[in-house]
């Protein structure tokens, strides 16, 4: 399946913190960039997301802001 989401960054999971409803997943996309993804605890279970997994961080382009000095 091809997706309309414009941003797909390859990375490796470096940490997972699971709460009752939500979970935080740390994805190293390359040094020094780390992405934090907040997804449901249910998704972490169903996709069996764990340290060392090769994953994609997917972001709809309307969700990206720009900062400029």
């Amino acid at each position: 399946m091809k997706m309309s989401a414009r941003n797909m960054l390859n990375g490796k999971v470096e940490g997972v913190t699971v709460g009752k409803v939500m979970a935080s997943v740390k994805i190293r996309i390359e040094d020094p960039n780390m992405i934090t993804a907040i997804i449901t605890q249910e998704s972490v279970n169903e996709l069996d997301i764990k340290e060392g997994d090769v994953v994609k961080a997917i972001i709809k382009s309307t969700e990206v802001m720009i900062g400029k000095e």
Copy 2:
């Protein structure tokens, strides 16, 4: 000002397409990763965003999804 948004990626603007209300900004964060940011035409004007600018792509962590093969 420090921001709660967890994801800030350094990049360089490689292209800007401006419509009447919205604009698309292409940001090279590093080879081979390109980020597309959809922001307002007004923001492009006020921040004077143009090709070659050094910028940050900023993403709230609740907006990041994960894909896994």
Copy 3:
């Protein structure tokens, strides 16, 4: 690829309106429900989205609100 996004609704494209940067896509998921998706003009082109296409409307669960009478 499996995705963390919890909501995937099967539907058929009933209309596409394309602007310079953004596009509106009408997806019939079943009578009487129609979904409007605002995606980039670039995505419409790359995925060649047109009337009659069978597609999925994908929504991260943190983006869903609830209304109750």
Copy 4:
């Protein structure tokens, strides 16, 4: 009050999981489609959302992505 949000899907609550801050609400919109909504625990309390409730799942159209085989 009329809302700008384009997507309102009628459904029935089939499950609620409440954490300290967030809550997950499962809404059956029709077979076989289930919607997961992540809202605040506070909203679940204030709207008294519980199994069997008739509700609307509300989604801003800029939050909808499209997948196509």
Copy 5:
């Protein structure tokens, strides 16, 4: 209908810019605060949003970030 969205700010429309797909609406919530809402051109038409209208700006709490000096 009661909504799960936690943030509803009363304001008055001070300007509307309409593109082919999207529209920008400026809402004065009180001096000196102005809210910019990007909604569909279709919503502006259906709700007949125009200068002087008394409206609510509605924001899901997961979409709010915090900045601190």
Copy 6:
């Protein structure tokens, strides 16, 4: 750093509820308006967000909906 996000509202923190992954922050922007921001527990810690802090609530304009009677 200047940001593309169009909406920055000055306020004071009136309450913080911290869960394992997410946190809810109540920000008084002026009477009678209160903003609820759901951010990560990690952000609350790193920015040391606590009652009485002067902060900005930051909202991308694509995340704002409009309601009209």
